[in-house]
Amino acid sequence: MYTPNRKHVTLFDKVFDAHVIVEREDGQCLLWIDRHFLHEGSFHAFNKLKERSAEVARPDLTFGIEDHYVPTRTRDLGRIDPAIRGMIEQLRGNSQRHGVRRFGLDDPAQGIVHVVGPEQGLTLPGLTIVCGDSHTATHGAFGAIAFGIGASEVAHVLMTQTLWQKKPKRMRISVDGELTPGVSAKDLALSTIARIGTGGAVGHAIEYAGSTIRSLSMEGRLTLCNLSIEAGGRFGMIAPDETTIEYLRNRPFAPKGEAFERGAQYWLALASDADAVFDHEITLNAAEIAPVVTWGITPEDASPITARVPDPAQIPDPARAAQVRDALDYMDIKPGQSLTDIRIDRVFIGSCTNSRIEDIRAAAAILVGRKAKVPGLVSPGSMLVKKQAEDEGLDRIILEAGLEWVDPGCSMCVGMNGDLVPPGERCASTTNRNFRGRQGPGSRTHLMSPAMVAAAAITGHLTDMRLLMREPVPARD
């Protein structure tokens, strides 16, 4: 149980300890869960409930969101693949049966779960948040313990509003200094993953700290925490501060008036104690980070855009050399070639990683007044992001550049809704995974920031966006 007088306590421990209902001798803790987000993939868990004739314990803390399978070019379910429609209809049926609030396709707040939660003020500091999706650590940007769970755990939370967890180790990633112009949270995240590896944070809860992190907007923090799982970390967190509090004020589901002020006081006290001890510390210098792209088939296969593709013959570790050889073979690129010589076939801007208003603005700032050489899809993270972008005229810039402006959903990040990269094609993408075939069978993915994707769209090859930088697009009133 959380006691405010303890010393040397990390942010993670403060939030974790406040949620422990039972602690067993072997270290297993029964944790109270404050928010549970569901999506169309949750049908396995609902089937488990059905087997036991169980009810949802706390429908008031459970929210269903249509995002993983939703079409982005039509909202008419009559016009889509019946198997995909079936997935959406199952979520609708299950939500209705159990009295769960659902953000459906007809809802003006619909969007990707990790965009909608914060936007609606459902995500708050100091909460435990779970979802059957590995990018749930996104919500940790608010100082919440947020993590992805599997279907058995989803069923457990539905039935009990609790989950058994053992405390992970704690890792602090500190970044200090100023990011140089054009360098974003995505570049920071990919640089970190390249440094520690895709398994670097396995078994650890990550806290991102330092002056660079504190100066990030909430959008940037969300992108950074989102990618924690790509370093193996199930949890990624940032201590709540004034930026966090200001973002949350007046959000629809956030507390109001006196309750909000009481919350804010609690949230600001969650920061790790100055002398808190971490099991693992990593430090990065913001000034050294450049725009980054991936060239391989795991997010650790990332390099600054100014670099060359690594040559496996030059890599001393035989296991790593074999991996790089395999990656380059799949990606059909040559050792030692300049990253900027890699031609692309299409682009995608969207996903829970990079689909918020700042991301759309950053892409539009590069696209404005230019034409894309390749086709591409821009899918804003929510209907609210879409509306705001349209109010700012960003949709027109995107359309005039020759890219498609579509509705929100997980879309081409994972291709479940049919938005796919065709076999053999190469996509510059703002998403989170460049795994073999992730965007469609035989697809090849290069991960990068929204501005870098926009730059690649304009030139038709991987490009240092700093060469295309202009003044930011002025917001239209």
């Binding site: 029964l30 590995s134 895709t198 398994g199 309750a259 479940m416």
Partner: protein
């Protein structure tokens, strides 16, 4: 859940690192009902070509390894998404134990919730085991009580989180255990509501 005590079975080598959950089961198959079985989708795009024909160089297609219940692979197995379908694909195929130097965190916990043992061995022992399988050993024995693996003339120790070991050995399901704490949970929720009144979502859920 069936208890896992020990297993003596055909072992299949899969000498790859970072086998992610998108490899274990591509997303396009996850619309299917579990009742139909997920085994045929396991590592689908590494087993079948575009025409659906079996690729002869894929370890799982090796005629000698048919009926494998043990998979031996390299580091960071199961990294990526939280899809429990990755575990369903393994389990429905018949795999009951995966041996590797490391696993994705969410994958391991999903595995244990389905009675699948994620056995951790050192990088060195993993290579030794892959070598004996490559040199013709067909089977391995995994003893969860003794935390030991045998194959050909090789004897290795492995690790698994002690909590998970107990759970697997007994075939426990978390939900039954949790339900024995129902009144403790209710009491926690009541006290917590006074302690953190701001936690409750402020809009009333309007059930649709």
């Amino acid at each position: 859940m069936q208890p896992f005590k020990s297993l003596d079975a055909v072992a299949c080598p899969l000498p790859l690192s970072n086998v992610d959950t998108d490899q274990l089961i591509p997303a396009r198959f996850m619309k299917r009902s579990r009742a139909d079985g997920y085994g045929s989708f396991l590592l689908h795009d590494l087993r079948f070509d575009e025409t659906g024909a079996e690729m002869s160089n894929s370890p799982l297609n090796d005629p000698e390894r048919q009926g494998a219940r043990i998979l031996v692979t390299r580091r960071n197995f199961g990294c990526g998404s939280s899809r429990e379908a990755a575990v369903y694909a393994l389990v429905d195929y018949g795999i009951a134990c995966v041996i590797a130097p490391s696993f994705g965190d969410i994958f391991s916990s999903n595995a244990v919730n389905n009675g699948l043992l994620p056995a951790i061995v050192s990088e060195e022992n993993c290579e030794a085991l892959l070598n004996v399988l490559r040199d013709g050993a067909l089977t391995a024995t995994v003893d969860l009580g003794a935390l030991t693996i045998w194959s050909a003339n090789l004897i290795l120790s492995f690790t698994v989180d002690p909590v998970w070991r107990t759970k697997l050995l007994n075939g426990w399901d978390d939900i039954d255990l949790t339900q024995s704490y129902t009144s403790v949970i209710a009491n926690f929720a009541k006290v917590d509501r006074e302690r953190r009144p701001w936690m409750q979502p402020s809009e009333r859920p309007d059930s649709q």
